[in-house]
């Protein structure tokens, strides 16, 4: 059976139904048994007349990264699609509307720009939809019909998803849209019977676990629900808002509350208040909101209050690039704020990890009485992957609060200094354990104390506590052969999938390369990271930021040559870029 690696792009102007068509394509392909990874690109303005592009990579094996080459482009707007030409494979297939409402301006037809090896398939998307449903609005669905016919995709999966998606708009709209799809399908079968390119379909999955098509944000919401989240506090911000909306539809039914509050400061404040009473709480935000939360995060470090905060990074600084991806909040997450404020920072690298790390953030926060920051990024939050439905054991998310012994009633010290740095924590409502928590430096009782010895002692305690959390954090994972490596790639967050993809390609080419995945960013496993670096002749750290923040954090562990690969473009780092750098580094060594 042929392995399939197919990247399909749909490009249009906002309002063309581009994102909707991409979503339907992902759902139908997933239903047909393909593995999928998809990520959309859209403007920050809702009515901005911007370009919308959906990119989906399909295959039989699990997809871990998008590549920068597209095999098939559906053009819903030729003028917009022209910008995608550089990213099309030499032999790409292009589907376009060959009867647009007004003649396409001179030189703006995609057909006029296609390279010779490309295959063009024109179909009157608008006319087909208008004839089938009475409205040209369904042109995106007619285009999907053309696609399905051309590749011989399972059409029932499309029909079912279309019917479901438009059900809320009435039977008439749903049926009309299915007819638009069918019109495209019939057209291509009739018009291009000799040029069809049937795609092998994966064998019917036997006994496989249930698959879900989830975005990173959905996985974060599900992870929080699995951990028994009680209260969610949030403030709208791209790309974290869908987490709040997802939970708003589900948490109340489980007895929890979702509150959209007046700002991010209020959100983190309420999280601290809720967790103070023992009720698990969370907030999610992006860079600008995270900056506002900083002061209360440092208060939580000092007062030793649990909190779970998702920072869904986007392009910065400041308001930055609201709908573009970047990994530039790392140092703010780890070090941000006044004073020495050790806290736990973890970063998932794919949708499944978004679920698990979010769920596990709650017991971590409870056990270590600290803010836990789950660091994601736009490319992770908004991508969709079809994955086996994740689950987590009740033990893994069980209440991790260390309560004081009952005989301490009346003599309880909230910040008792212990070898682990963890002090038993009494919840409000417990008789005889009244105490104060504070962001002022305090003695073991929680009473302000600014004496030199006390500040040293308490700083030591807080640091010891967080370093101790390493025992509960996933150690870095190595990929590739053991033994000496010419290039060892160290990656985190959404970039890891691209790094692993690149390393796999390089290994297929016979190169001695490996990859290290780091999900525990603070504290981090120094020994394990250093061991990997020590067996790499050159260490490559690819990151979606300008300053090399992971390198700043852990680069000091490397005793050999460290090379950064940084990109500040707002778009994901693609495997081909990393692979090119690997080739360059190995070539340098050999020349």
């Amino acid at each position: 059976m042929n392995r399939i690696d197919l990247t399909i792009e749909i490009c249009g102007l906002s309002g063309d139904g581009t994102i909707a068509a991409g979503g339907l394509l992902n759902e139908a392909m997933s239903r047909a048994g393909f593995s999928a990874l998809a990520f959309d690109s859209y403007p920050a303005e809702i009515r901005g007349f911007g370009r919308c592009v959906t990119r989906s990579r399909f295959g039989f094996d699990r997809q871990i990264a998008l590549e920068n080459q597209t095999n098939l482009l559906i053009s819903l707007d030729d003028e917009q699609s022209l910008s995608r030409l550089p990213f099309l494979a030499a032999d790409a297939v292009v589907l376009f509307d060959n009867h647009p409402p007004s003649p396409v301006a001179e030189g703006k037809s995609i057909a006029g720009h296609a390279r010779p090896a490309m295959s063009l398939f024109g179909a009157p998307f608008r006319d087909l939809a208008a004839a089938a449903s009475g409205s040209a609005k369904g042109r995106n669905l007619a285009a999907l019909g053309v696609l399905a016919g051309l590749l011989n995709l399972p059409v029932d999966a499309f029909r079912e998803r279309i019917g479901k998606k438009f059900k809320s708009k009435g039977e008439k709209v749903a049926a009309g849209n299915i007819r638009s799809f069918d019109a495209g399908l019939e057209y291509v079968l009739k018009t291009y019977p000799d040029r069809l390119r049937p795609l092998p379909v994966p064998a019917a999955p036997a006994g496989q676990a249930e698959k879900v098509l989830w975005s990173g944000n959905v996985a974060i919401g599900e992870g929080a629900l699995a951990a028994g989240l009680k209260n969610y506090f949030g403030y709208p911000i791209t790309p974290a808002t869908p987490i709040m909306e997802y939970l708003a539809a589900r948490l109340p039914a489980k007895g929890g509350r979702v509150l959209q509050v007046e700002d991010e400061i209020s959100a983190i404040g309420a999280v601290l208040g809720s967790f103070y009473t023992g009720a698990r709480a969370m907030t999610a935000t992006s860079g600008p909101g995270f900056a506002l939360m900083t002061e209360l995060i440092t208060q939580a470090v000092s007062a030793e209050s649990p909190a779970v905060i998702v920072d869904a990074q986007r392009g910065g600084p400041s308001t930055g690039l609201p709908t573009k991806t970047e990994q530039s909040d790392l140092l703010a997450a780890v070090f941000g704020g006044p004073g020495d404020t050790p806290r736990i920072v973890i970063a998932p690298t794919d949708v499944t990890e978004c679920y698990h790390l979010t769920a596990r953030a709650f017991p971590l926060a409870e056990k270590y009485q600290t803010p836990v920051i789950v660091l994601t990024d736009f490319y992770l939050d908004n991508r969709v992957e079809n994955i086996e439905r994740p689950s987590i054991s009740a033990d893994a998310v069980a209440d991790a609060l260390l309560k004081p012994a009952p005989d301490q009633a009346g003599s309880y010290h909230r910040y008792q200094v212990t070898p682990s740095g963890i002090s038993p924590r009494a919840l409000p409502g417990t008789p005889g354990f009244q105490h104060n928590i504070t962001g002022l430096e305090h003695d073991e009782r929680g009473v302000p104390d600014f004496s030199p010895g006390n500040h040293q002692k308490m700083s030591d305690k807080r640091d010891r506590k967080i370093q101790g959390a390493l025992a509960d954090l996933d150690p870095p994972e190595e990929y590739g052969d053991p033994g000496p490596l010419d290039v060892g790639v160290v990656a985190w967050g959404s970039t890891f999938g691209s790094a692993l993809d690149a390393v796999q390609s390089a290994r297929d080419q016979g190169l001695k390369v490996g990859c290290l995945k780091i999900t525990a960013l603070f504290p981090y496993h120094e020994d394990r990271i250093q061991a990997f670096m020590d067996r790499s002749k050159t260490i490559l750290i690819p990151e979606l930021n300008h300053s090399g923040q992971l390198n700043t954090l852990i680069g000091h562990l490397g005793r050999g040559r460290i090379v950064r690969l940084n990109q500040s473009t707002g778009i994901p780092l693609y495997p081909s870029t990393i692979l090119g750098k690997i080739h360059e580094l190995i070539g340098e060594d050999r020349s």
Partner: protein, 270 residues
């Protein structure tokens, strides 16, 4: 005949028997001698005692400033947060465990300045929390800068030519924000504080207590004990606190009356 010493001894005994000090922690307040906060402390403590609330069922949340230190002086649970953020934290506490009695305390800089953005939302959300604003119209802990409620013309090191901005009226703000219980009180009248606190804590919803008080160290001009004592008077007999519009109209022209300005009448059972 009772000698003065005898009368004093009897008074001490009656105070001891009232257990009014039990709610105080062993920490000595950091406030200056003569500070109005002592009166507020006394008023709040009395209310909590008279309501018979278990100390471990009370959480006092504060921000930063002289009033921010309040929780350390009470034998309840306390959450000393950062500047201006007592209300968000207090709401989180109440949602986290609705059985707790939650008080947020803080000064005028904390609540009307840096934290002023939280006040309207806490009021309109109407969670069952109690917010006590200690309004001495000055930043005391930083040694005497003008606050959002400082009267015009107040000369400080930070305002050598005198303040020029219109002062905020916290009672008026609370009424316009939709708070369902609004009282104006005076640190020199602890009994009045106790009475209003008892009613406000019983009130199911957001209760706001605007307490006039004096900074004896940094304000020798406006909100001095003398000035405040001469100004304040109870709301007129027969005042009906059930009418928000009339409360607002009164507060617009009356800076001096004390008492419960507004209490939303209880709704029928849902």
């Amino acid at each position: 005949m009772k000698t003065p010493a005898r009368r004093l001894a009897e008074k001490v005994q009656s105070i001891q028997e009232s257990n009014v000090f039990n709610i105080r922690s062993g920490e000595l307040p950091t406030w200056c001698p003569g500070c109005g906060y002592f009166g507020i402390h006394f008023g709040i403590n009395n209310a909590l005692q008279r309501l018979g609330l278990d100390h471990h069922q009370v959480v006092i949340v504060s921000g930063i400033g002289c009033a921010g230190r309040y929780p350390f002086f009470s034998n309840t649970y306390g959450h000393h947060t950062v500047h201006g953020r007592s209300l968000p934290v207090a709401q989180g506490v109440k949602l986290g465990n609705p059985n707790l009695t939650v008080l947020a305390v803080g000064g005028d800089g904390d609540g009307l300045g840096i934290g002023g953005g939280h006040f309207p939302h806490a009021a309109r959300r109407n969670f069952d929390i109690n917010y006590v604003l200690f309004d001495n119209s000055i930043y005391g802990l930083t040694k005497g800068q003008p606050s959002p409620s400082t009267p015009k013309g107040f000369k400080t090191k930070a305002s050598p030519e005198g303040t020029v901005d219109q002062p905020l009226n916290a009672t008026l703000l609370a009424l316009s924000y939709g708070a369902t219980f609004v009282a104006r009180l005076f640190a020199g009248d602890p009994e009045g504080i106790t009475t209003a606190l008892m009613a406000g804590i019983r009130h199911k919803g957001f209760s706001f207590f605007h307490v006039y008080t004096s900074c004896v160290t940094f304000d020798k001009q406006f909100k001095t004990w003398n000035n405040l004592t001469n100004r304040v008077r109870p709301l007129p007999a027969g005042y009906d606190p059930a009418d928000r519009r009339r409360a607002i109209e009164r507060v617009l022209v009356d800076d001096d009356s004390l008492g419960i300005f507004y209490q939303e009448p209880p709704k029928g059972k849902e």
